[in-house]
Assembly symmetry: C2
Homo-oligomer: 236 residues x 2
């Protein structure tokens, strides 16, 4: 007969969930911090659609309050990235400078969409799994970018005007891949559900050769954690 006490309602968070290793770890961190997690996967015309299916499985497995998938693949029409433009090959050896897998303004767009949902939910924080160590070539994975978006969020919304700006949290920004894996393993993340490969097959099996695969494989080795990744080359 009683109305739930407001104190019983945990603060909400919007967690950007790509289906990969980093964002799954971030979801575990946000949950461990006691937040009610609303997970958000964004389709932007990426080649690795298996990631979106992985995101749904991870949200289910890790107790997300709600999972949504938003399609903005229309932005792929702008081109400019190997991940959305079939005319640009995904590289299989590390290069110098900003990788061709960089998607123009992707994290700005993702955080903007998360900001809109956070405002509707009156969420306290947005979580994003960006990381400046292994992916330092991406402009929008740097601490200065996250800080700039935090400043933007502090004035962009109704919540901000009312004195409750949403925080923007990137808890893995300074972590190595091995540190991320150790932290997630301690929090019980099942990494067999995650897909990192830039060119995973429809079943989510990894190529084992792209930059994302290489970093992931090295991360498990360095962390001393068994690598649960399913590679295509392993055969059936």
């Amino acid at each position: 007969m009683s109305t739930p006490d407001i104190a019983d309602s945990p603060d909400r968070a919007v967690v950007l969930l790509s289906g990969g290793l980093d964002s799954s770890t971030v979801l575990a961190i946000a949950r461990a911090e006691g937040l009610a997690c609303h997970t958000l996967a964004i389709g932007y015309g990426q080649r690795h659609a298996a990631e979106l299916r992985a995101a749904q499985r991870i949200a289910d497995a890790m107790g997300a309050v709600e999972h949504r998938e938003i399609d903005v693949s229309a932005i792929g029409a702008f081109g400019g990235s190997a991940l959305t433009d079939a005319g640009i090959a995904v590289p299989e050896t590390p290069g110098d400078g900003i990788p061709v897998t960089y998607v123009p303004a992707r994290n700005t767009l993702f955080l903007s969409i998360a900001l809109g949902w956070a405002e509707v939910l009156d969420a306290r924080a947005i979580y994003i799994g960006v990381n400046a160590v292994d992916y330092s070539g991406y402009p929008d994975c740097r601490p200065a970018f996250i800080e700039a978006f935090r400043q933007l969020a502090a004035c962009a919304t109704r919540q901000a005007v009312e004195g409750r700006p949403v925080d923007v949290r990137a808890p893995l920004i300074d972590a190595s891949k091995a540190e991320i894996i150790r932290r997630g393993s301690a929090l019980g993340v099942d990494y067999s559900l995650t897909v990192s490969c830039y060119q995973a097959d429809d079943d989510g099996r990894a190529c084992g050769r792209c930059d994302a695969c290489r970093l992931r494989r090295e991360g498990f080795a360095t962390a001393g954690v068994a690598d649960p990744t399913r590679y295509r080359s392993e055969g059936g």
Copy 2:
């Protein structure tokens, strides 16, 4: 037989074009500043789809290099606005505070999409027709918001890393509606092509009663410019 001289290529701009009065004026300003204008209309599930058709007509009439329409109406699923949620009525009398027509984080999202295209085009500037005078109730129409997004753009992209950050320009931010109309009229804007009404019919005819209609009508009257708006109540 000659390759066009780079000096013959004007700098590019991405101009957010809603099909309304303000953004059409901004397009005229960017053109007058000598920029090659790439116009961008964004479908976000707004009720007034007539605006999107108006944007195409305005881009054609005003010499845009290219016009694109990007659909992100999936974000309407978050709800929270009278412009995307059929369950919330569009008000016909001015209210206090932030209007129900406010769309959560809309300008953040629009500028993010423009930023991605600007990066692919290597554009010098993004133009947006926000205005703090008549629409001061919207958090993301304030000068502080535009400045925060400019700071974000200064670190978010490949261009920024390479020392050529895109500028974010809101030339109407401090102008009254009458000033905007005078300025656009001097630049030859044909306001009969524009649609401002929050609930225009399929033919682009205005209701004459919503906030947007009221501000527009008062603007023409104050500017001493004949109002070319087609209202539904005028009959056939």
